[in-house]
Amino acid sequence: MRDVIRVYKKNKLAVFGFFVITIIVILAIFADVVSPYKYDEIDLISFLQPPSFKHPFGTDSIGRDLMTRIIYGARTSLIVGFSVQIIAVGIGVPLGLLAGFYGGKVDYWISRLVEVMTAFPGLLFAIFLMVWLGNGLINIIIALGVTSWVGICRVTRAKTLEIKGETFVEAVEALGASNSYILFKTILPNIIRPIIVMVGLGIPQAIFGEASLSFLGFGISDPMPSWGKMIQESLGYLQGYWYMGFFPTLSLAITVLCFNFVADGLRDALDPRMYGRRA
């Protein structure tokens, strides 16, 4: 573990990314305390104002402070990002492990299930689910989660297959270890690392997904803000009110970028080739 941190710290971008993400998370958790206004506080006199001292990011069409809404938007995005990945890992990893480890019929049927899920490519299936379930935060998380576990499952399966074929696993088997021992103590620790990297990349994907769904009209209910919805709303105001779209787009970009930095850093730091196998 200490080695991991040491290698990670060498990557300046990764450190920077981690730092920024931490700030965003803190802002999101303490949004109520940090925000200068309430996110649904309207002011029909000072609407559509450009950035100023009173409103650093400007105000929207009904006078709500944009900076406050960006901070609360971070909360929405992070909740979506993490929840979706939790669902994706919760479904994808066990299925991938089972498929890779046991092979045979188990693998066959799980792979078919994976293929059925890919028949409904992410966004399109999410659209379906949203029309069926209706809008709302929980439904977005469900829709995105259900369409995100496939990637993790495939990687888990591939890595499991790869590791299963390694000599050290054969050695442990020869020593008479039980299946569950092999699964949990041998294979799992070695695949956790690529999984973590995938999760790191999957969070921004989920945030993007929420933005896309909002763009298509399946966002969360107002007045709770989300960056995706703010971007979609800003598209009607692009000519003349640049700040309505600029800040949410920038926030989204920075967040996604930093998650990518962190994921890259983790990938390097957790590279098993640097440490040798754990048996």
Binding site: I42, M224, Y241
Partner: protein, 569 residues
């Protein structure tokens, strides 16, 4: 002077006027172009619309293009820019003393492009088709006043039993109604006939292909390239009294809501913004306002007299309590919303009928629901929810196809006002259109924002949708009775009075909270000109409803002026 001299003078004048020096340019249908018109090849109008499945009213109302419709047939009457009915396929009409039988005398000059004349048979065929439940027409609720219509639609009598029949000769059409309906000619705006012959030969979609399409209207189908565009060409043999100027109309497919304005700015289309699918966003309006050229091209009108309102489920708590509904009504500052959010695109609504609509009564209704947060709080407390305590959290549904940025902003503002004045938590959800209507029509929607625009200019249409058998979960027996009786009255003064009383009940009993009337604006290029684009009898310059549809006279008076050459069209 001697007679011979006068005759020679006349002949001389006639000869001179026929010579090239005096003759004006005629288009392919024979109409003389105005002096400032551009050369014939420029007489093309370009618009944008959603993709269409059909162009015919009686095949499907909702699956047509947004505005470029009803060119292939001659309706019985048309609407001019002063919202007056003018003769079209029907040269004249008369009504029996008891008000139940209408006789329309058809213009014998109108022929289909396959040579057959337009006769009463085509109208009878079209109406019977629409009434036939097997045809599955999506506007089947519309012609209720016609005798036996509702029964036919329900399958209780055959479609041939409806009160639309040929009269004493093939050019006479007789329509009988269930009750006296003085607005029937107005309803006959929607009577663009199908060709019985073509339908029987080629089926319902005969107008989708230039090879099988027949028209007796001002235009014929020249091209229908799926996913791309529809091109209408002028009907050389059009038999109507007034022929159009435009040689061609090109309809490009797209999503007007997002693309029309940009296409207009880029010079790809000539008109935009006149239909409900093309409402300008506040940013678009800013762009227009700041640009002096664009500002001159922007004209506002009545649109389809559309009113936006909040609705409730009045059959269940908490909204079954009138005090709760009135509390909500008094807690919303309509003026502020219109001044800051809706701005140019609407005016405050005090009742359901927009000023300008027959029978509207803004003065009489103005003071019933005023912005009064104190009174609102008091009423809510009386109803058992002091400061909103115990009141369920609300989810306001907004119909997706109406949820332009302006409307969503207004919805959010209303939610914030309710929170501030009443302490009630309101969420705003944009609901997909079919899901929304499904719930609304089933009376399952608790709290929602929606709008309605008129179908024909009579109180029985607008107020008629509020009767308890309609889409709203609100019932008021006196209202139902007044509307039903007034709709069937011939005495104009009395029916106007009864409708006024009915609207008052609607406002007092808070069937809905009426927020604003839409005053949509349209943009058209400086080289698009025409009599109907000039001020109407109220002095208003606008692209009046129904826009460029074939059931309005506007499309007949539009032409392209020489200025187009400056724009490199």
């Amino acid at each position: 002077m001697s007679r011979r001299f006068v005759v020679s003078l006349l002949v001389l004048v006639m000869a001179l006027s026929l010579s090239p020096a005096f003759s004006a340019v005629k288009n392919s249908a024979g109409r003389v172009l105005p002096p400032d018109a551009a050369p014939l090849e420029y007489q093309v109008l370009r618009v944008m619309s959603q993709p269409a499945t059909t162009l015919d009213w009686f095949i499907s109302v909702y699956k047509r293009t947004n505005e470029a419709n009803n060119y292939f047939g001659e309706p019985l009457v048309r609407l001019n820019k002063n919202f007056e009915i003018v003769p079209a396929a029907a040269k004249s009409w008369s009504v029996s003393k008891d008000g139940l039988t209408w006789t329309f005398y058809l213009d014998k000059n109108i022929k289909w492009t396959d040579g057959t004349p337009l006769t009463a048979e085509d109208f009878v065929f079209s109406f019977q088709l629409a009434a036939d439940p097997k045809h599955g027409w999506d506007f089947a609720w519309f012609y209720s006043p016609i005798k036996n219509w509702d029964k036919a639609v329900r399958g209780e009598v055959p479609p041939s039993a409806i009160g639309v029949k040929q009269g004493k000769d093939p050019y006479t059409l007789v329509i009988t109604t269930e009750y006296p309906a003085p607005y029937l000619p107005m309803m006959m705006l929607y009577s663009t006939p199908l060709s019985k012959k073509a339908y029987e030969k080629y089926g319902p979609y005969y107008n989708n292909d230039p090879k099988t399409s027949v028209s007796c209207g001002p235009y014929v189908l020249e091209e229908w390239t799926k996913d791309k565009q529809i091109v209408f060409r002028i009907n050389k043999n059009y038999g109507g009294r007034v022929k159009p100027y435009l040689e061609k109309i090109i309809v490009t497919f797209g999503d007007p809501g997002t693309s029309a304005f940009k296409a207009y700015l880029a010079g790809e289309i000539d008109i935009c913004g006149y239909s409900n699918s093309q409402i300008f966003t506040p940013a678009d309006l800013e762009v227009i306002e700041k640009d002096p050229e664009l500002s001159k091209q922007f004209h506002q009108g009545f649109g389809d007299f559309r009113t936006f309102y909040l609705g409730f489920d009045c059959y269940n708590p908490p909204f079954n309590d009138l005090r709760v509904r009135r509390a909500f009504a008094h807690a919303i500052d309509k003026e502020a919303i219109v001044n800051t959010i809706i701005k140019k695109q609407g005016i405050v609504a005090y009742g359901f009928l927009m000023p300008g609509f027959p029978g509207s009564n803004p003065e009489g209704l103005k003071n019933i629901i005023t912005y009064n947060p104190e009174l609102a709080k008091k009423l809510l407390a009386e109803a058992g929810y002091p400061d909103g305590k115990g009141f369920p959290a609300l989810d306001m549904w907004v119909r997706a196809d109406l949820a332009s940025p302006t409307v969503v902003a207004a919805a959010n503002a209303i939610g914030a006002m309710l929170k501030k004045n009443l302490g009630i938590d309101v969420k705003i959800t944009v609901k997909e259109t079919k899901t929304f209507m499904d719930a609304l029509n089933a009376h399952k929607l608790q709290f929602y924002l929606v709008s309605y625009g008129m179908d024909y200019l009579d109180q029985s249409n607008m107020l008629g949708i509020w009767v308890s058998t309609g889409r709203h979960a609100w019932k008021n027996d006196r209202f139902d009775r007044l509307v039903k009786e007034a709709s069937a009255l011939l005495d104009k003064k009395k029916r106007d009075e009864m409708f006024k009383e009915a609207e008052k009940i609607l406002v007092e009993d808070v069937g809905g909270i009426f927020l604003w009337h839409q005053t949509p604006g349209a943009l058209w290029k400086p080289y698009v000109k025409g009599k109907d684009l000039e001020p109407d009898k109220y002095g208003i310059t606008a692209l009046h409803w129904p826009g460029i549809e074939g059931v309005g006279t506007t499309i007949f008076s539009i032409y392209i002026s020489k200025d187009v050459l400056k724009y490199r069209k």
